[in-house]
């Protein structure tokens, strides 16, 4: 149950392994809770119609556009954001592959893109180019033309079993 105080709701969410409690308006989106209340600004807002995917995070093992989720709906869930992908300063293999293959330019779509790729490789460790392109259709990148994103993911495909 969510406690309600002065029209605000207290939600408790595990974010990147840390239990966080916050008091939010019912209309507050999860992405705004992450960015504004928890200071996790790696998750971006690129549109207002759930088209761009810049706000993609992992909720209970599922890649989700965090602009489609109210903060109160995420109460009690486990959320992983880009900041939680490789704690401790090392890079996750997806992050390294994106660097190695110049799969990013302005970087704005990147956190959401990487979270979407993580989901793809979890579900399908050895995707074809067409499967990669289809899976990433919900994440818009305006800089790279996707060529090097696909290359980066392909480089992981053969070794994907080694990652979580």
């Amino acid at each position: 149950m969510i406690d309600t105080v002065n029209g605000h709701h207290v939600v408790t969410i595990d974010v990147n392994g840390v239990r966080q409690a916050a008091s939010v308006e019912a209309r507050k989106l999860l992405v705004h809770l992450l960015r504004d209340d928890l200071g996790l600004t790696g998750t971006h807002v690129g549109c207002d119609t759930s088209q761009c995917g810049a706000c993609t995070v992992d909720i209970d093992g599922q890649a989700v556009k965090s602009c489609t989720v109210l903060a109160v709906m995420a109460d009690g869930s486990r959320v992983t954001t880009i900041e939680g992908l490789a704690p401790g300063g090392a890079l996750h293999p997806i992050q390294s592959a994106f660097h190695e293959h110049h799969a990013l330019q302005c970087g704005f779509c990147m956190p959401g893109m990487i979270m979407a790729v993580r989901q793809l490789l979890t579900q399908n460790p050895d995707p074809t180019e067409s499967e990669i392109r289809h899976h990433l259709a919900g994440n818009i990148c305006r800089c790279t033309g996707y060529s090097n994103i696909v290359r980066a993911v392909e480089s992981l495909a053969s070794e994907a079993h080694r990652h979580d």
């Binding site: 119609t49 954001t81 900041e83 970087g107």
Partner: protein, 790 residues
């Protein structure tokens, strides 16, 4: 530890040094920045394309929870100056553009009122309570309709909605017509686009205790923004600090002066607190500048062997309701000056009109004018091939500017010089990579089997890095063409470059350091690059017009060269020899033919600051600032080829292959350069196949108001782009660089159109306008089939 290196960095595919923060979510974009006690601004936008504002009632908004202040245009009148353009072609009628509309609105999305509140949500709630009484007026959306007799008029001082009339040309077009075997006519629509940076615009203006103001703003041109905001808001330039943090894409959209960029600084000063504004995507579609939006009518005078004798162009450039920053330069200088493309067309006559309509202002978008100009040339040459049933490659060859012609002045006109190029070289490379011969055979064979494959070819050339400053005055471009770089060596020999260029994803922290590292002969790890802070960077013009490597990179090269020259003088003093005897190789100052121990760069740098052994008359320090004004502009060129298959039952275009061969002169970093081509090509594919801003022609309502309705390419819509380079160094700058950022979006639209037209040629279809969406292609096929069976 040695600070010497023998590695040559320029030309290496170095991985980007800036990536770590982006892939870990530590990028710092404007909306990520918060200031203590900041308030939020929301803007009420006009729901009407054209209306008189009779009354604005702010009382409910002012009384709403958390609201500090609500204002309309009337309260702001006289407090902030009007928004004036920065490129005014001589003879232009400039309409007045108040920051917030006062008595009339002229496009859906124009600022009408604003609210400042404690939270963004409260500010948005408040503007919903503003009551505006409008009396709607007839609106005009289309550029052709806007100049017809009786069309609604937008501005009292802009008769017939024509702000600028521009002519250029050379030779004698009438004579070409007399000598021609035939004249072909073509009408081209260059579809209106939304640049769609993934990061929408946002601003944070923060007053400081010392009376200065810091403005966080995603600006491609931070020093220009400082000047414009200072001039318009009335704050001395030196009291404004513009900080451009990480920028989520620019593409030309973030280099203009927008109303919110004036409102936040003004209101932050008025209220004495930080004020932030963030633009939603739907807001962005109706408030951030659009691109393209031209109609062209062209005539081509040809000989039957495919030689073009003359070209006549009539351009109508739709610039929206007001003249944005560079609006008058786009459909004029940037488009029709380049209408002859990569071809030797000696008789040319072009006429362009800059037209205001009740739409979002139109300004620079990746290539600005050069895609439109290149489209004219390429659609012309393609029409010749199609009309005469000649091979599209062969027709281009017969008309190309030849290698021996450079430097080449097209149509012997006054403004354009192509500095260098080797189009045949690019063509040969492209044909080989594309496997043009075999592909043509495959296409023909499949065509016989009822499958519709097509090959598209496009050639292009243009000019980058508007310069020199003196020449820009003649064009009415109220800026310089130089770029500034400061190469500052510390007392241990480590270097910080302060560059006036401004990366928006380009990777300047890597590429500019590569240029400096080669000159300074030190490891690239010893070099940092600072951009985007007018308090740190001395001066600059920023990043647009593919100028950052050609002009910004050259300025880094020149200032690094000066650092080495001074270091040599210091080394001579330390070694007690003549300066002329000192050579600098592999990061060491030495005297050849002697056993004097060489000095490292770091040792000499320390002496520069200790100053004990400086030669007489030499100032201490090792720190050089350059304002580099190029003597001319570089001309990138290239050949792109696309292979497509059209499904006649659905109209869907499947892109099977895309090869780009680009000649941008010296390539600093082939990995990053290819990235620029990939992105530019896909934006060009977007224009050719998917993207188009649509307005209701009667009401002026924006129909493509969100990313649900405006189709930017997704990963599954595009192929792997194969990018190859040819390097013909530019003679106009010390590093031979031309420019790469805009090439893809110039070449790809005609290349894609030609590929689809080639696939549709069995139906007798000779022209289709962009975007060639499935319904448009399908309908063209249906019409052609119906016509054939009639």
């Amino acid at each position: 530890m040695t600070d010497a290196t023998a590695i040559k960095y320029v030309g290496q595919p170095l991985r980007r040094r800036e990536d770590f923060k982006f892939v870990t979510g530590k990028g710092r974009y404007t909306d990520d920045i918060k200031a203590p006690g900041m308030l939020h601004m929301a803007v009420l936008r006009s729901p009407h394309a054209h209306a008189v504002i009779k009354q604005v009632d702010l009382s409910a908004a002012n009384a709403a929870p958390g609201v500090r202040l609500a204002l309309s245009g009337a309260e702001l009148a006289g407090k902030i100056g009007s928004i004036v353009p920065n490129w005014i072609i001589p003879g232009t009628k400039v309409p007045n553009r108040p920051v917030v509309a006062i008595d009339r609105v002229r496009f859906v999305g124009e600022c009408v009122a604003l609210a400042i509140a404690e939270t963004q949500a409260m500010a948005h709630d408040a503007i919903g309570l503003v009551d505006v009484d409008y009396e709607t007026l007839a609106a005009v959306i289309d550029e052709e309709a806007a100049i017809r007799d009786g069309a609604p008029q937008l501005h009292d001082n802009v008769a017939n909605n024509i702000a600028t009339i521009y002519r250029i040309g050379g030779g004698d077009y009438s004579k070409a017509v007399r000598e021609a075997d035939q004249v072909i006519a073509l009408r081209l629509a260059n579809n209106r686009l939304i640049p769609t940076c993934m990061e929408t615009r946002s601003i944070l203006a923060e007053p400081n205790a010392d009376g200065t103001l810091t403005i966080y703003l995603q600006s491609q041109v931070p020093h220009m923004h400082r000047r414009w905001i200072a001039d318009t808001v009335g704050i001395p330039e030196h009291q404004l600090r513009i900080v451009a943090p990480d920028i989520g894409g620019g593409f030309g959209a973030k280099m203009h002066l927008y109303p919110e960029e004036l409102l936040c600084p003004y209101l932050a000063r008025l209220l004495g607190v930080p004020v932030k504004w963030w633009e939603s995507r739907s807001e962005s579609h109706q408030s951030t500048n659009h691109g393209r939006a031209h109609t062209e009518t062209i005539e081509i005078a040809i000989r039957n062997d495919g030689k073009i004798l003359g070209l006549k162009v009539e351009t109508l450039g739709n610039v929206g309701a007001y003249l944005s920053n560079m609006a008058t330069g786009g459909p004029t200088v940037n488009t029709v000056n380049f209408g002859t493309g990569a071809y030797k067309i000696e008789n040319y006559e072009a006429h362009s009109r800059v037209i205001v309509t009740n739409t979002v202002p139109v300004d620079a978008y990746r290539g600005y004018g050069r895609p439109e100009g290149g489209y004219i040339a390429e659609r012309a040459i393609d029409a010749v091939a199609r009309h005469l049933d000649l091979d599209q490659v062969e027709v281009r060859r017969r008309n190309f500017i030849q290698r021996a012609d450079f430097p080449y002045k097209p149509y012997n006109g006054p403004a354009v010089i192509y500095d260098s190029g080797n189009y045949e070289g690019c063509l040969a490379k492209a044909m080989e990579a594309f496997n043009y011969g075999a592909r043509s055979g495959e296409r023909d064979q499949l065509r016989a089997e009822g499958r519709y494959r097509g090959i598209g070819v496009a050639a292009y050339t243009h000019m980058c890095g508007m310069a020199p400053s003196r020449r820009l005055a003649l064009l009415g471009f109220n800026r310089g063409g130089w770029e500034s770089a400061r190469v500052s060596v510390d007392s241990s020999g480590r270097v910080t470059i302060f560059s006036g260029s401004m990366s928006q994803g380009h990777g300047h922290v890597t590429s500019l350091a590569q240029i400096a590292a080669d000159v300074l002969q030190i490891p690239i790890e010893h070099i940092d690059v600072v951009q985007g802070d007018t308090r740190q960077v001395q001066a600059g013009h920023g990043t647009f017009n593919s100028r950052s490597m050609a002009v910004g990179g050259s300025s880094v090269h020149v200032s690094s060269t000066r650092v080495v020259a001074k270091a040599k003088k210091i080394a001579a003093g330390m070694l007690e020899v003549d300066e002329g005897d000192v050579s600098y190789r592999a990061g060491k100052f030495s005297v050849s033919g002697t056993d004097i121990a060489p000095l490292t760069f770091g040792t000499v740098a320390r002496m520069a600051y200790v100053g004990h052994k400086l030669p007489d008359g030499l100032e201490p320090g090792l720190d050089e600032t350059v304002f580099y004004d190029p003597k001319g502009m570089g001309s990138p060129s290239g050949i792109h080829m696309a292979y497509v298959e059209v499904d006649p039952e659905t109209g869907i275009v499947d892109i099977l292959d895309y090869v780009a061969v680009d000649d941008a002169g010296t390539i600093i970093n082939p990995l990053l350069a290819a990235g620029q081509i990939h992105g530019g090509v896909v934006q060009g594919i977007g224009q050719a196949l998917y993207e188009e801003v649509s307005y209701d022609p009667d009401t002026g309502q924006l129909m493509t108001g969100s990313l649900l309705d405006y189709a930017v390419p997704r990963a599954e819509h595009v192929p792997r782009i194969r990018s190859l380079f040819q390097e013909t160094p530019s003679p106009t700058n010390p590093i031979g660089v031309k420019g790469i950022g805009e090439s893809g979006s110039i070449a790809a639209p005609p290349c894609m159109v030609h590929a689809v037209l080639d696939a549709l040629s069995p139906f007798g279809i000779k022209h289709l306008d962009m975007p060639m969406t499935p319904p448009r292609v399908w309908l063209a096929i249906q019409n052609a089939r119906a016509g054939a069976s009639r």
